[in-house]
């Protein structure tokens, strides 16, 4: 029989294991092994209670031995070994009163809900061009020609200085929120002092003929989620930014200011082709470039 099996020794070692519980596992295991070795050396296997009690008294209480293993104060190491993180968090959490948790919950809602909502709005998909398009004015329909500029195809119509020109396209809203087109983010009509007018059809009806003119438009109109609408883009053309026969200017993407929820952002609608006005030799000639004041359509 080993001295470690003596009831008094066994009880002491159990107390030691409990006392060492707050030490790092490696340090605790090493110290327990050292104390066991000490007891085995100090006590014969058949030691009586008196001898065991004397050796244990000389060894000191298990709690004192464990305490001596804690890092010393003032040496830059903490006096009490750190508990596992989960236990420390649980202990700290229990110290916070219920009112504290209510305040924390209120703050989380106050900060998290608006932030989450804004993130949700910002991550909504942008509007998309839905391939159907047409020049708005009948005067332009019959004069459209396909031209090439910088490798890109242009659907070009003769510029009609001082006249309202423009086109209509279908736009799809792929997002889960209604998007409201509040205006244009750039000036499509060259030199015009005011931005083009952007209007949205009130319905999504797509007929075989007659559209885009057979639908009603509304400036600042909404496009519901997963729906399409006609979008009309009109401007008053200004000749003097085109320098003679063969020159043209237009756009191949439409920069729109779009409101999603309570935020307004700029969306770039790729049109696939460029809508341009140009100066043709056989086209109408401007009267003059004298007037800078070009009224809004």
């Amino acid at each position: 029989m080993s001295a470690l099996e003596h009831p008094l020794v066994a009880r002491y070692l159990r107390e030691l294991d409990v006392a060492l519980d707050r030490l790092p596992p490696d340090a605790a295991a090493e110290l327990a092994e050292q104390i066991r070795a000490h007891l085995e050396e100090a006590l014969p296997p058949d030691a009586d209670d008196k001898a065991v009690a004397t050796v244990l008294a000389a060894l000191g209480p298990a709690s004192l031995v464990a305490e001596a293993a804690w890092p010393e104060v003032g040496t830059g190491r903490s006096a009490v070994p750190r508990e596992p993180l989960s236990r420390r968090i649980a202990k700290s959490a229990r110290k916070v009163p219920i009112t504290g948790w209510l305040v924390i919950a209120a703050l989380c809602i106050a900060i998290g809900l608006p932030s989450g909502t804004v993130i949700y709005w910002r991550t909504q998909s942008s509007l998309q061009f839905l391939t159907t398009s047409a020049w708005w004015s009948r005067a332009d329909w019959s004069h459209e020609v396909d031209t090439q500029a910088a490798g890109a195809t242009q659907e070009t119509v003769p510029i009609r200085p001082g006249q309202i020109q423009g086109f209509a396209i279908t736009i799809y809203n792929p997002s889960d929120m209604t998007q409201v087109i509040v205006g244009s983010a750039d000036n499509i009509s060259p030199g015009a002092p005011v931005p083009p007018q952007i209007a949205v059809s009130t319905t999504g009806t797509l007929r075989q003929s007659g559209e885009p003119h057979w639908v009603r438009y509304r400036i600042g109109g909404p496009i519901p989620p997963h729906s399409y609408r006609w979008v009309r883009v009109l401007w008053r053309s200004y000749y003097c930014y085109l320098n003679g026969v063969g020159s043209s200017q237009g756009t191949s993407d439409l920069l729109l200011r779009v409101r999603v929820g309570l935020i307004t952002r700029t969306e770039d609608i790729q049109l696939g082709t460029e809508y341009a006005v140009g100066v043709f030799a056989s086209g109408p000639h401007p009267a003059s470039c004298g007037s800078q004041a070009v009224p809004h359509p």
Binding site: H38, L59, G60, L64
Partner: protein
């Protein structure tokens, strides 16, 4: 001063010198745990709880002042022997120097020595000339 305060003060004193005493014993020769504890116990009042020597040994080892190795002997159970390192010897030499000066100063202030009044007189002389 109460008895409890005095005991705490003695414990602090003991704690401060126990490490160098362990190093001094190991500087003589390597020792295994119980052997070291028993030798320390020979010095009256130096050790009150033998179990606290092992955490101290582990700290000295972590500081690089002591090393240990297992020795397997046919006659006895495997034992962990503790030895002093070169760094430990340097530390011990430095402590001996400091301790000599420190203990002499404390003895002088406390009036301990051949002439119990020497410390008091020295202090008075210092006060008069300063």
């Amino acid at each position: 001063m109460s008895g409890m305060d005095r005991a705490a003060e003695t414990t602090e004193l003991r704690r401060g010198v126990l490490g160098p005493c362990v190093l001094a014993l190991l500087a003589e020769r390597p020792r295994f745990g119980l052997e070291l504890v028993r030798d320390l116990s020979q010095a009256d009042g130096l050790l009150t709880s033998e179990g606290t020597v092992y955490p101290l040994l582990n700290r000295l080892r972590d500081a690089g002042l002591v090393t240990n190795r297992w020795v397997h002997d046919d006659k006895t159970r495997p034992r962990r022997y503790y030895s002093i390192t070169d760094q430990g010897r340097e530390h011990l030499v430095a402590f001996r120097t400091d301790w000599s000066a420190f203990s002499a100063a404390v003895d002088g202030v406390l009036g301990i020595g051949a002439d119990p009044g020497a410390g008091q007189r020295r202090r008075r002389v210092g006060g008069e000339t300063g």
